[in-house]
Amino acid sequence: MGPDPVRAEALGRSFAGVPVLAGVDLVVRAGDAVVLLGPNGAGKTTLLRILALLARPTTGRLALFGADAATAPPALRRRIGYVGHESLCYPDLTATENLEFYARLFAVPDADARVRDLIVWAGLEAAARRPVRVYSRGMSQRLALARALLHEPELLLLDEPFTGLDAAGVVALQERLATLRLAGHALVLTTHDLERAAPVATRVAVLHRGKIVWAHDGPPEPVVVAAAYQAVVTGRA
């Protein structure tokens, strides 16, 4: 089966002395879809960026696919895909140009064909030759997802991917994520709105003030999770 995609122990991260993460333990296995729930300021984005190797933890240990994150060579990033709050795409280039650029950076084999496939997959054929600057939020989101999938990463990290999507966009994204999970990818997504993420999840964890305060293995019962979430956020606020 291979080593777990994510093994995090006691991850901590402070900014100028202020702790944002205060001891997070997390294990993600292939085929998992972990949803991290939490109010704003809970540390979700920071945690995700650490998992994406975009930031370093101040304390704790992280192993991705068995390799220690602190000493890992850049090549480890080939197995990780990251979708952040922003599209990570250059506004003055077209979708095709952006994807071609990242395909080169990630050494994607047969890049032209793969880029074309993803443009179709993301429903961007019509806009493919226009600069990203003019895209709608939904289009940018789909492009960001396409960018993250270019190199077929085994671990996909998504930061609040449902924000700003209309109902149709939400459904489309849910379907795509479900497909990816069934294909064997590991997913970690953060959200503050469980309703949208629940259909995709195999596990839920609630992050509050930098710690995981509640977790549940198995598909979440929205009512149960919502109650726990409320208790956590109001009870310990």
């Binding site: 370093r56 850049p74 990033r77 709050h85 003055d92 280039l93 600069p131």
Partner: protein, 221 residues
């Protein structure tokens, strides 16, 4: 190093698409030269003596703007994270950005230098090879530190002030070498410029290597 080439082409393509830098460099370059010439109001015989200093000062001012922009464009849509999420060495990102800056600064020089020749009555044609050599060496030296510190400046507060504040003191030896070499080349060809060129080469080597090694520490989060 495959990443460096891709980044270089990407930056050049974006620049070509928007032509923002080119336009502002041209306008700013002309304005600076006009201000210098009018403020000094030299006699036609005395004017050429000013040329080396004016040329390099104008280059530094326009260069600061251009390099700053190069990293600001990575801030839009958090593209810098895109670069850092790729399986490329941060040093390759530095190399790509450095090469892109060298090209764009070269274009800046191609605009500013003929204007200097025009406004200050300097004959550039006769000494073109030597002049180009000096310009290129100065270009690389400027770009080596400017690329490193533009990455720093765009991530700190007061970023418009920070880049010149950090960069100008460090660049003084480069400017001394460049102005000395330019003066010598305009006066007597490449041979006379040996000392200045030695300084330029030393600067280039030391700071390209330093930038290569230190860039990873700047972009690491």
């Amino acid at each position: 190093m495959r990443g460096a080439g891709a980044i270089l082409l990407k930056d050049l393509r974006i620049e070509w698409r928007t032509r923002e830098s080119l336009a502002s460099v041209f306008v700013l370059g002309v304005l600076l030269l006009v201000v210098f010439t009018v403020a000094h109001d030299p006699e036609p015989e005395a004017a050429p003596a000013l040329a080396p200093a004016v040329l390099w000062v104008a280059f530094v001012f326009t260069g600061l703007l251009g390099v700053q922009r190069g990293f600001l464009l990575e801030r839009e849509n958090d593209c810098m994270s895109g670069l850092l999420s790729a399986p490329v060495d941060p040093a390759a990102i530095y190399a790509g950005k450095l090469l892109a800056n060298v090209v764009l600064l070269g274009v800046t020089q191609a605009v500013v230098v003929p204007l200097v020749g025009l406004f200050l009555h300097v004959d550039l044609w006769g000494v073109l090879p030597g002049l180009i050599a000096v310009l290129s060496l100065g270009n690389v030296g400027f770009a080596s530190l400017a690329t490193l510190f533009a990455a720093v400046a765009t991530r700190t507060r007061a970023r418009e002030v920070m880049l010149p504040l950090l960069l100008l003191p460090l660049l003084v030896p480069l400017l001394i070498g460049a102005v000395t070499a330019t003066r010598a080349v305009l006066g007597g060809g490449l041979g006379a410029a040996r000392d200045g060129i030695a300084v330029l080469i030393a600067f280039d080597v030391v700071f390209v290597v330093a930038g290569w090694l230190l860039f990873a520490y700047v972009v690491r989060d």
